[in-house]
């Protein structure tokens, strides 16, 4: 099964005159954990909603398991799990009944897994949803999406209300899911450290475009901070191309560059009579630099 789970081609979405996403081309392959990053309003939720067929694309195409997402068939739907940003739980039911309601829609609902996770995650199944705290509700929402062992799990800010312990438990569960190499996970989050741990692919949405997409390792290796120390004053017109930010102060210059390679390093060092030092950046710093 080597076909990608999700394929987006030149996907665009506008609501009336308001353009939310423009020209997004990306893929989700089996075994991927994709982290979607972006400022508020950058279109993360809309992209996930397009992926699941809630709304039709304005132009371009998005396919899930080989079919147009807007017209998802039953087979496809049973392979997909979704955790929305605002939970859609029924307040009057107990957690147990809520699970049974959703579970009744799927043929392969795994009750044993649900029981096991509800114990580990400390969810009291007899408690009524209305009386649960925000964190408990979020955990329950996540649980609801796991029972049918979906091949594609889509999560929109799933851990915003969870404490660090609950978050770590959730991360471990995601890793278990992705470890078999056949299932994929796409999640958007503001907690960059979680994405840094979990994701092997990153999609960064900025200005309605897919500003950066690819492997996280490539991102970390190609976006770096360069320190340049000259023996004397550096030339006033000195500049480093392809930089997100650059500052020059006498004999010292610092820049954050994209597309860094060892070749560029040696070229820069040889071209100047200076010492060129490379410093790696965390994902959060990279994200901030991109938005400078």
């Amino acid at each position: 099964m080597n076909h990608p789970h999700v394929v987006a081609q030149q996907l665009s979405k506008s609501f009336g005159k308001h353009e939310v996403i423009r020209d997004v081309t990306a893929e989700v392959a089996p075994g991927d954990i994709v982290g979607v990053l972006g400022k508020n309003g950058a279109g993360k939720t809309t992209l996930l909603e397009l992926m699941l067929g809630f709304t039709p694309a304005t132009s371009g195409a998005i396919q899930i398991f080989g079919r147009d997402s807007f017209k998802m068939t039953n087979d496809t739907k049973s392979r997909v799990g979704f955790v929305p940003q605002q939970d859609e739980l029924i307040n009057q039911l107990t957690a147990h009944d809520q699970l049974r309601v959703i579970g009744s829609f799927y043929r392969n609902w795994d009750n044993a897994l649900i029981q096991k996770l509800s114990v580990i995650w400390e969810i009291d199944l007899k408690e009524r949803v209305r009386n649960m705290s925000v964190g408990q509700r979020q955990k329950l929402s996540i649980l609801l999406s796991l029972g049918h062992h979906p091949d594609l799990l889509v999560l929109d800010e799933p851990v915003a209300s969870l404490d660090p312990v609950a978050r770590r438990q959730f991360l471990e569960q995601i890793i278990e899911i992705a470890a078999d190499g056949r299932r994929a996970v796409v999640f958007s989050s503001h907690i960059v450290s979680d994405i840094e741990r979990l994701a092997n692919k990153i999609w960064i949405l900025k200005d309605q475009r897919l500003f950066w997409s690819g492997e996280i390792d490539t991102l970390k290796e190609s976006v770096v901070r360069i320190h340049v120390r000259g023996k004397g004053l550096l030339p006033k017109d000195f500049e480093i191309p392809n930089a997100y930010s650059f500052s020059l102060d006498g004999a010292y210059a610092v820049a954050v560059v994209r597309d860094w390679t060892p070749a560029t390093h040696s070229r820069l060092a040889n071209g100047l009579d200076a010492d060129v030092e490379m410093q790696s950046l965390t994902l959060e710093e990279i994200f901030l630099e991109m938005h400078r």
């Binding site: 809309t46 909603e49 809630f54 739907k77 009057q92 009944d97 049974r100 309601v101 829609f105 009524r128």
Partner: protein, 446 residues
């Protein structure tokens, strides 16, 4: 004082709907009051209408315009109970200087404005009558204050309603209550001493309780513990097979239909005319059908989890809502027969009533299902059109020739079929993101 005025401005202009309503109110009331003042002698009022000059249509217009103006005024300040209720429960209010008092004053000010406008209408209405003009304004103001304040409370209850039951019950409570002020004012010389005293006492008690709210909260828990008052909860037991209904929110159809009884009982206190009853019950059936609009956005999770395409979902939901309608219509029919026999309606009225209720439910259901992108102009126009047709049937059915009646019924049936076709077509392209953003835009009055 700034804060109070700003709050009052928010109540009247906070949302787009409110702004339009306030504008319409100003226009309607200006013309209405001026018209009444100048042509008061031409107006037909009172339990025994005497034609004192001028055509019926003109005098009807003279009366309707200011009445609609007052009603619009009431609703244009509809944000008041919502904002009041919201702010009253916030922790923010503690921190604002004189927060509680200013909030209270702003609410009372709105009540005063609405009551004063109502009283102006009444004054203009009676200006050429041979009665003592002195107390007219004052009495009208008191009546308005006494009747409008509980209605704002009902409005607040509706806004807090989380689901079909609450919204429905609240809406149906308000509709007959809107007639209350006008009903009491029809009798020109009621003694208002008693109601005034009672009203004043209640108002002062509520105001005091509100202002001392924080102190209440500190010793209330100990009181509650001593008396061990259990909170009434709505519990749902899950029965396999009802997942669909649960997710959509209509899992307890009998509860909704039984809930109809209370507002109808309230209405029996002062509605006696057969035609008005038909109108009211028809409105009830429309609202019952109209809760289908809630299921549009809720169907998203059904679609994702179940094997139905959007069109198939439409058919299933249609069936589900008709099941709900069946319960409601039966209850309404029973009520119609009971009230009809109690008040001595003609049996021909019942014969008109049955199809009317069915039509009302149909119109309501399909209008609700049509709202896939919030409420557009086309939707509201067609809704208004259908409602007007049905109102005409309800009010004048007994007096019109059978052919006309059948024709009107057929027209409404045709409209229902059109609505259904429109809803069905819209559902094939249902976009849940648009649906949600429209709903959010409409509720973004705060």
């Amino acid at each position: 004082m700034n804060a109070v005025l700003r709050l009052v401005m928010v109540y009247f202009t906070g949302a787009r709907v409110q702004r339009w309503m306030s504008l319409s109110t100003l226009i309607l009331l200006t013309f209405g009051i001026l018209g009444l003042w100048n042509y008061s002698a031409l107006v037909l009022i009172g339990p025994k209408s005497k034609i004192s000059g001028g055509s019926i249509a003109f005098s009807a217009l003279l009366v309707m315009v200011p009445i609609i103006g007052v009603l619009t005024l009431f609703f244009s300040a509809a944000l008041m109970p919502i904002v009041f209720g919201h702010l009253a429960r916030t922790k923010q209010l503690h921190a604002l200087p004189y927060g509680r008092s200013k909030l209270l004053i702003s609410a009372l000010l709105v009540l005063g404005i609405v009551a004063a406008m109502f009283a102006s209408v009444v004054k203009a209405l009676y200006v050429s009558f041979p009665i003592d003009q002195g107390p007219v304004f004052g009495k009208a103001m008191v009546i308005a204050a006494l009747t409008f304040s509980p209605m704002y409370v009902f409005l607040w209850l509706i806004s807090r309603a989380k689901g079909a039951l609450g919204s429905l019950g609240g809406a149906m409570l308000i509709i007959p209550c809107l007639a209350l002020p006008f009903h009491f004012v029809q009798i020109p010389q009621p003694s208002i001493r008693m109601p005034l005293v009672i009203g004043a006492v209640i108002l002062v008690a509520c105001a005091a309780a509100f202002l001392m709210g924080p102190r209440w909260r500190s010793w209330a828990p100990s009181v509650v513990l001593k008396w061990n008052i259990p909170k009434p909860e709505i519990r749902s037991k899950y029965r396999p097979g009802s997942e669909f209904a649960l997710l959509v929110g209509v899992a307890r159809p009998w509860m909704l239909s039984v809930g109809l009884i209370f507002p109808v009982a309230v209405a029996t206190l002062f509605v006696t005319s057969a035609n008005i009853w038909l109108c009211y019950l028809m409105l009830c059936s429309v609202i019952c059908g109209g809760i289908s609009s809630l299921s549009v956005s809720r169907s998203r999770s059904l679609w994702l989890r179940g094997p139905w395409s959007r069109s198939q979902l439409f058919s299933r939901l249609e069936a589900l809502h008709w099941r709900q309608n069946a319960y409601c219509i039966s209850v309404l029919l029973v009520l119609l027969v009971a009230i009809g026999s109690h008040l001595g309606f003609r049996t021909s009225l019942l014969a008109i009533g049955i199809p009317l209720l069915l039509l009302g439910a149909a119109v309501g259901t399909y209008l609700g299902l049509m709202m896939t992108r919030g409420i557009g102009w086309l939707d509201s126009m067609s809704a208004v059109g259908a409602m007007l047709l049905m109102l005409v049937i309800a009010l004048y059915a007994a007096d019109m020739p059978t052919a006309v009646l059948v024709g009107l019924d057929a027209a409404v049936i045709g409209l229902s079929i059109t609505f259904r076709a429109l809803a069905q077509r819209r559902w094939t392209q249902l976009d849940w993101v648009l649906c949600r953003s429209a709903a959010r835009r409409e509720s973004q009055s705060l």
